[in-house]
């Protein structure tokens, strides 16, 4: 594609060529870099001990793969940042439909079953690396909601006939803002049902949080959040108490050192030992003792305890600080976004990221029950990392169209 001269560009196109937000980009790359180093440190023993293909005792297995995906992800991030994000508006419904289709595919023989859970699909349907359609669904929901909710100010309330009971009812519902929520609710419900039955608890939570954050910021009445939030809480509590293994998870969380948690609380306790072993300054990069088979999945959900063990509380805090800065910068970009669509999208994506960080480290430190959420930029998972970076690309694309401040 031949590059058009600047004078031939439309206003939109000119804006899309603006500079991307360097602080944000730097924070992403910094976290990604630290994440890769820690992944290597945390994973090589596990990989070395794993005789099953494709790992086959190759200590570099995880890091090579992750590095390749990170490279591809950074490329994807850049390419996406070059897209004028206004195109995402029309892409959003397609993306949503596509992700619903993919989620549905998980229930067909194309779905990849691991440990009795059907969360994955092959990238090329019958082969290639696996990915979770719910990862895509998260973004799709955020984009779709943003694309619709940004037009809220110009969307008129509806009035229905008062002649019929139904009409009056509908009027009432419109007045309290329920009618407006119906399409979002329906979309959300469809996606959630598909995710819940995979089953995929953490995906469910993230999709809900992503959607809710966009709805929240777009100005939906707070009453709905209180109402629906408590409803969802009650529902969740009901599900927890009705399901044995969720009840046990709660019990482990409440008393991880009890005898009852002898085998179940193992992962948590090993994580705690790991963090404690780090102390203030850590045992030094590569010197974790807990990664030698004590902490389960040190390359995945449990990568942060290993990080703290090696880099110490100081290192852990530093990483948290980087995450905090990234999140704050994300919201700052949202606040300064050119339009409401960009803002809502940014808020959704950043909130998703923040939630993931919170849920991962919260679980590790015993703050919340185990949900099984990986740490962005750190945990092993090639396609997830790519999608994560692609999301960052979207934010960067939005950042390009931020009008320069007048002082400059």
């Amino acid at each position: 594609m031949a590059r058009k001269a600047k004078r031939d560009l439309t206003m939109d196109e000119q804006l899309a060529r603006g500079p991307l937000d360097l602080p944000f980009l730097m924070l992403v790359l910094l976290l990604l870099g630290i994440g890769l180093i820690m992944l290597f440190s945390a994973s090589y023993y596990t990989a070395f001990r794993d005789p099953k293909p494709p790992v086959s005792n190759n200590p570099y297995f995880y890091i090579t793969r992750q590095a390749l995906y990170a490279g591809a992800g950074v490329a994807a991030m850049y390419l996406i940042s070059r897209i004028n994000y206004q195109h995402f508006r029309w892409m959003a419904p397609l993306m949503l439909a596509g992700s619903i289709f993919l989620l549905a595919l998980c229930y067909t023989p194309f779905g990849v079953e691991i440990n009795g859970v059907k969360r994955w699909l092959y990238v090329f349907l019958v082969g290639g690396p696996t990915f979770q359609p719910s990862e895509i669904a998260k973004v799709a929901i955020v984009l779709f909601f943003s694309a619709r909710l940004c037009k809220r100010d110009t969307e008129h309330q509806l009035r229905f006939t008062r002649r019929t009971g139904t009409g009056r009812m509908l009027n009432l519902l419109e007045k309290i803002g329920f009618l407006e929520l119906v399409p979002y609710g329906v979309v959300m419900l469809v996606v959630l049902v598909l995710v819940v039955f995979e089953p995929h608890m953490s995906g469910t939570i993230l999709i809900m949080v992503g959607g809710a954050s966009v709805l929240f910021v777009s100005g939906i009445r707070l009453g709905w959040f209180v109402g629906l939030g408590s409803l969802a809480g009650a529902g969740l509590a009901f599900i927890v108490f009705m399901t044995d293994y969720l009840t046990r998870k709660i019990n482990i969380w409440l008393d991880p050192w009890g005898a009852d948690a002898q085998s179940d609380g193992y992962q948590f306790r090993q994580g705690v030992y790991s963090i404690a072993s780090g102390g203030l300054l850590g045992r030094g990069l590569g010197n974790s003792g807990q990664k030698y088979g004590f902490v389960p999945e040190p390359e995945n959900d449990m990568i942060f305890p290993i990080t703290v063990e090696e880099l110490g509380l100081v290192g852990g805090y530093l990483i948290l600080l980087l995450f905090a800065l990234l999140i704050l910068r994300g919201y700052w970009l949202a606040l300064h976004a050119r339009d409401k669509f960009g803002m809502l999208t940014t808020v959704g994506i950043i909130t998703l990221l923040a939630t993931q960080v919170f849920l991962n480290i919260g679980v590790i430190t015993g703050l919340i029950p185990n949900t099984g959420i990986s740490l962005p930029f750190f945990s092993y998972g090639g396609t997830a990392l790519m999608i994560q970076l692609a999301e960052m690309g979207m934010i960067l694309s939005i950042s390009r169209q931020i009008p320069a401040s007048r002082k400059d």
């Binding site: 790991s274 963090i275 102390g279 004590f294 999140i327 606040l335």
Partner: protein
Amino acid sequence: MNRNTARTRKQTAKRAPERSRYERGLSWAGAPTSATRGSHSKRSILHRTLVLMVVCGVVMFIPLAWRLWDIAIVHHDEYQKTATQQQTLDFTISAQRGNIYDRNGNVMAMSATVYKLILSPRDLVNSVSKKDEDGNELSTEAYNASVALRQDQMVMELMTLFPELDRERVDKQVHNTKNAYWEVRTNIEEEEAEVLREYLTEHKTASYLYLIPDAKRYYPYSGLAAQALGFVNANGGAYGIEAVYNDVLEGTPGRVMTNKTAGGTERFNTYAEYVDAVDGYNLTLTIDATIQSYLEKTLEEGIREFDVQEGAFAIAMNPKTGAIYGIASSPDFDPNSYSQISNELLLAQMEQDKEEIFQQLKANNTENLTDSELMSKAESQAYSNAVNTQWRSRAIDSRYEPGSTFKALVLAAALEEGVVSESDRFYCPGYAKVADREISCSRKQGHLDQDLTKAVGNSCNPAFMEIGRRLGKDKFYQYFEAFGLMENTGIDLPGEASLVGAIWDKNKMGEVELATASFGQRFEVTPLQMICGFAAVINGGNLVKPYVVQSISTRDGTVVQNTETEIVRQVISAETSQRAADILEKVVSQGTGKNAYVAGYRIGGKTGSSEVGLEKDHTLVSFMGYAPADDPQVIVLLAYDRPKPVSPGSDYTANDIYISGGNMAAKKAGPLIAEILDYLGVEKIYSAEESAAVDVPMPSVTGISVDNAKTELEKKNLKYRTIGQGDTVSRQVPAARASIPGGSTVILYLGDAVPDSTNEVPDVTGMTYEGAKNALERAGFFMRASGVSTYYSNTTTAAGQSVSPGEAAAVGTVINVQFYNVVEDN
């Protein structure tokens, strides 16, 4: 109502152009109004974004940071301790236990690695997945069922692997889920372990069924010198040399402190701390496996031959150095499986013991136990008695009345003190009067007049009572102590018997006590003390300290400690010792010890028969012998406890052997000593009388005239007879250069006469020397006599022959015939 509706319609119509901007599709449901859905949204969006920004960017991190701080700093020590604990690999490297070698470097005890198969029933349960194949949680019932199934499978698998296991026991153990450590099998050798290891890997049982290394002690000679060697149990050396030298043998275990992985494997890093194990030292014993086997063989033979009830013991020692060549007790055991009772006599005794204990318990049943409970109690008691009996080394840890063997010590003391001399004469009327008592001699009709040598040879009690009287109480006591009979020998073997009450206090010793003690009765010593005391009599007068460990050496053979002979004291002068030895030699060549005679070896010694306690029909027969008399190389004490009389009160066994040291112990000791001397390479030296019967090589006389042959044969001290007609010898029996005893009659065949190639061996048992010789030579055999001195009397009869009667043997074969002489001794 209607009006309202109409107005609505009107309004709707009015806004038609506006409406068209919206999706017409929704018009069926409702019409857009002027109010938008989001009002005042700009501000609220800003506020809400700021709220999220603060929550997600700042607030959210506060609890996380707090928790991290709490774990990493506040609880740092507590958690880190656990973490360090689980990561630290602290194991000991077991030191190889030292080997034990006999005098010639043959391995008597060695260590090797074996394996134990361990099952953790607890982890077996943990290994059962709580989820089904689809990853769903199992219900409690379903989970329990699958645990039970797994356990049953485990039982099956174990039974297939080891069909010899008791199924009930396996079943019980597998279901004992509280237990995490059950030794399924121990002592698994490397070969079997290899097979098992493959099986375990294949079935991925590592978390609950696994092998661990273990050390096993092997005793290649199995039961040989069992009590002396002892054995090793879980706590180290438990008995014998293994126990006494445990510290030397076991070495120092090393230690490794390093980090490990969760799988328990070692992580190599710079923090690791290694302390090497120091292997145990090797021991070289004075015990000679060959001599030891001679001793044990002799014990077994004697026990069978004399129907011995209470076991037997034997010691062979170098009389000059105190080095023990062999020390044996029967019943013995196999240290490889030390808790097993294999001795038949002991088993029979245990059975009897059990009955007795049972009856006893039943009579005194205060706890109201059932019969079967009492029986099992009795059983375990009897077993523990029996096991302790077989582990005991009787030659060290029990006392006995030495009987007449003690006379040698009295003799030596009397000679040293000059209270008797070889020329003294004693008269034995068959008894002696001491104080108000009559103490009889073993020979009721009396030995009548005899010189000192004869008196010792006859083992005459009245003569020794007289010698004891002449010695006096004080001197007796002094020598008793000097010969080391009042103190333990200090041998490096465990369990020397306590000597408390073994002999009267000096001031309680009256005339009668002195008299009986003079012929070795009514006091007790240990067999080892006795042999040491006796050795002092004949070795030049020195009491030596006995020992079994010659040297301690490192694994590469460097000797770190060598045992030197320790002379405790000189008891008698060398000259006295020589005089006593000469007299004792005659005990064997002419006296009660004559059954121990072996031509060529100048064996000296003393017989002994002692009543054990005041028990009826309980005699301990013994013989203390040494050889060669002029330069003793070995001294042997051989004793059999309680040969069974044919009927209560009888002096004979079922096979008509007079129960006494001279008829039993001496008879077995002679060949034993000869065997030992032969093995030690001591040359035979024949006396004039003996050399007449010494083997000579047969000259070749075939082809020469009978006259010439006669001169040739006479040169060799051989007689001849001829068969056939002619002057020239055509064939001869035996063939040239065959070795036959001197004085034998060879057969010369003249002319066409041809000898038979084989002939039937006649039965010569019970015949006299001449009778047996003639009978054999008539059949074309030659006789080599053994067992009794050259002073053959009419009471000397053949007791055994090397080829059984009736068997065919090549003509010219030399048949060994053992002669035996009934002696009257005590």
